[in-house]
Amino acid sequence: MAENGEEKLIAVARHIARSLGHTDNAITDDILQIFSNFDGRFKEKLTGNLSGNDGGPALDQALKTIDRRVSRYLTVDEPIWSSSADASLFLAGVDELIALIREWSAMADEVAVTSCLDRAEDLLQRCMFRLEEEFKMLIVESAGNTVGGGGGAGGHLDSDSDEVEHDGFDEVDVPVAHPVTDYNIRIDALSSGMIEDLHEIAKRMLAAGYGKECSLAYSTCRRDFINESLSRLGFLGSQNSSGEDNDIEIEKWIKAINMAVRVFYPSEQRLCDRIFGYSSATAAAAGDLSFMDTCRVSTMELLNFANGIAMGSRSPERLFKILDVYEAVKDLLPEFEVLFSGHYCSLLKNEAIAVWKKLDESIRGIFVELENLISRDPVKTTVPGGGLHPITRYVMNYLRAACSRPTLEQVFDDNANRSSSSSSLSVQISWIMEVLERNLESKSRAYRDPALSSVFLMNNGRYIVKKVKDDELGVLVGDDWIRKQTSKVRQHHANYQRNSWHKILNSLKLDNSNLSSNVASKSLKDKLKLFNTQFDEICRTQSAWVIFDDQLREELKISVAGTLLPAYRNFLGRFHNLQDIGRYADKYVKFAIEDIEARIDDLFQATAMAGTGRK
């Protein structure tokens, strides 16, 4: 009974509302409101169950209400966001519209509702269009000043001054004046208020399914801002047509990429996060995409520069510049990982890794090229006097300079981790030394005199050992290697000794057999004559030879003297005992002991420059 009565009452209430509402929808709303408030039970019954005949008109009314509220904003010329009150009202209207559409889309199975929905979507599109314009105006306004020139509005870093100006924006982190190499600053490109406005707009555009327009508007503007900021730092892209590494360009690039990855991009990411937010998967994706689009052109351009460096020639002189670039990229890789961790941005992260690998490869390629240069060094031309060969000097100084860069070890060790067949730096250096050694050995064979060959090898071997000891190089090749090399030098020393002085020592050999005094006397005289000639010859020849190392020279002289002098003294003793010599001894003895000593002291006095190249 009671139910029946209730239903009738509700029907009447509705009827009254509708009839009165024919002329003015506002009245219908109000009446329904009054009835609803009269009794809680009515509220549901009156407003609920809007399908069927009531669907179309109800939606229609709601739509008309919203239309009234937003339409005036759609037609006005001045930016809505010049007044935050207007902005709020407009946004509230949009919110309602979106909610309405969402609610009704679920029940869109009849014509009346559908046509209303179409109008709603149409209105929504016009709102979105307006929002897009407002969005663009806001975002361009903040960045526009800086791109156009001058001014610091927007937190842009000028190459003229290292300070960031921040006129009229509150809550911007105030960076102190900083040296160029300190990237530990934070810039906030836009004011909090501006960001909030943009966020509110983006929120609605995303909710309405217009995220793409929003993202495009955003990234087009911010991308230009980034690109312009970077080019003001002096980075001009890969315009190097000469193919030669330009130190200044590399410096500018290092500055630019560090600014980009440590300062600008994080700032942009924060901006994207705040404007697009994480409220939904769509929002997060839009933020990630916008961030990627903002950074893509400049990132690719910066990485392309490094790529160009990696693709240059493998000439060993380039090592140090390539290491500079390699270091810069390697240092930034962790930042790349963090910044570009999103789905859309992964291509940028991967590009950075690819460039890093290319640089790695080119550094290892340089060592291959060095190897080639050494083994191809001509063996036929000799250094006069058996002195130090330029290639020895070049290679050893090069290796010392190279190994003084700690990064180099990282290059080879990184690679060792990845594949077992590639070498660590120690192995690579040892190998280069081996190649050098082989080349030097080939060169030594060009000397006709084997003694000179030994001198040559002694000189170069000694130089190598000296350069390796007490240096990073020594640590890399290891003590064993140094010991081996030192003993090789000693071996060459022994060879020299034997080759040069063997014959002459033979001449001084005394015969202990019992010969008749005449024969013995003649034999000694002949021997002495031979000795004189030989000794003279050796001294003349070998005074033009080079021993560059003072200590080694002394060692050699001492060892020569040590073998020769006793033999000669001995010989002279026997000679003076000859019966038929007497006071004629001086006729035969050309060299006193002191003379021998003096002549030996004169050996190896030529410098590399003065040598006359006797083989």
């Binding site: 269009f129 080019s231 892209g237 052109v297 291509l347 191809r376």
Partner: protein, 386 residues
């Protein structure tokens, strides 16, 4: 002896029938007679390679000519030919520093520098196409709708299409007439941000300068002549190799300029390759086909002959027409037409989505290889003079 000379390897080098690496291990070359014969076969091999690959390029269907994938193949051909040419140069370095070879090769390297600018401009053009691709995406987003199309979606699509049209128009204007570019900024002050962004895009320091002209670059790149008989003899045939590579380089640069939007896209470029060069035929045929395409009425005012650009233009203009003609409530047949056009547009969009990134990479690669080739070549010449 390890050699790491070529970096990324090119399979075509082994077409010689003997490995480049083994040749370089023996710096002592064969006797003079053998050398001449050997040089001939190198040069012949290069020409055969060029002939074959350009025949492949020219035997494509008309819908593939000047598409993103075709351009990609063209760049591939260029890079391969360049590697082969480099190998020939390296193998004959003794001839390099003597006249007339030194002048011929130095001039070639000078011309190749002009190609670097072209690569940069092309890269910018690809970026521009990416922007259009984004507008297409919005159109598709608006119209690829399950439910019946309403006025809102149509309007949304139309706005994106209009933006796209304006973007392409701007590109056309700025590319065809240098004078037009010095517009007063005032005209754009009221307009939406897209004009500002275009202007800013042009002002990128790492784009080409405002006065840069693609047609002038092409003219400079094309400033060479078929080798005279005495030149061929004096250089042991190497002049032919230089000429071949010069023609390949010119064609590739010209085709890129023809296809991709860039500043001052003049297509007047003459290929007068003597009939004695067999590879001249496919190049001429391609040139003709591309010029024919350019002369077509519908393509005469395009900003780039790239097939996909045509696709964008066509599907965009169809869609605009279509949407203009719609009256609400939308009739079923009209809606059907729209959906069909959406499918067409999707194909264009998908093609671009997958093709643009790799193409950009190739253009960058070409840039670096041109630099490298030149540096190494000039180095060889200098060493020869020592």
């Amino acid at each position: 002896m390890r050699t790491d000379y070529h970096g990324s390897s090119s399979p075509n080098i082994t077409n010689f029938g003997r490995s480049i690496l083994s040749m370089k291990r023996d710096p002592v070359v064969h006797s003079i007679d053998h050398e001449t014969h050997y040089q001939d076969s190198e040069i012949e091999a290069l020409q055969r390679q060029v002939t074959r690959r350009f025949h492949e390029l020219s035997s494509v269907e008309s819908h593939e000519l000047l598409s993103v994938s075709w351009i990609s193949k063209l760049l591939d051909v260029f890079l391969c030919c360049q590697e082969e040419f480099k190998a020939i140069i390296f193998n004959n370095k003794s001839v390099l520093s003597k006249q007339p070879m030194e002048k011929l090769i130095s001039d070639y390297f000078e011309r190749s520098v002009k190609g670097l600018d072209v690569c940069n401009a092309i890269r910018d053009g690809l970026e521009q196409i990416r922007q259009w691709q984004k507008q297409l995406e919005i159109v598709l987003c608006a119209l690829d709708y399950q439910k019946p199309l309403g006025e809102g979606q149509i309007r949304r699509a139309k706005k994106a299409l209009t933006d796209l049209e304006i973007g392409m128009l701007d590109e056309k204007e700025s590319n065809t007439n240098l004078a037009h570019r010095n517009r007063s900024f005032g005209r754009y002050q009221k307009d939406s941000q897209r004009h500002n962004s275009l202007k800013h895009f042009r002002s990128l320091s790492w784009s080409v300068s405002r006065s840069w002209s693609a047609s002038k670059q092409l003219q400079a790149i094309g400033n060479f002549f078929p080798p005279k008989t005495n030149e061929i003899l004096a250089t042991n045939g190497l002049a032919v190799a230089v000429y071949t590579m010069s023609c390949v380089f010119l064609f590739v640069m010209w085709a890129l300029v023809a296809a991709i939007p860039c500043q001052d896209r003049g297509l007047q470029c003459h290929f007068n390759i003597p009939k004695s060069f067999i590879w001249g035929a496919p190049i001429h045929s391609l040139h003709e086909r591309i010029m024919d395409e350019a002369k077509k009425r519908e393509r005469r005012n395009t900003c780039g002959l790239l097939k996909e650009i045509h696709g964008i233009e066509k599907s965009a203009s169809f869609m605009i027409e279509l949407t203009d003609s719609i009256q609400f409530p939308i009739r079923e047949e009209k809606e059907e037409e729209v959906r069909k056009q959406v499918e067409e547009m999707k194909i264009v969009y998908e093609g671009l989505k997958t093709g643009l990134d790799p193409l950009e990479k190739q253009v960058r690669e070409a840039f670096h290889r041109i630099v490298k080739s030149r540096t190494e070549g000039l180095d060889l010449i200098a060493r020869g003079n020592e």
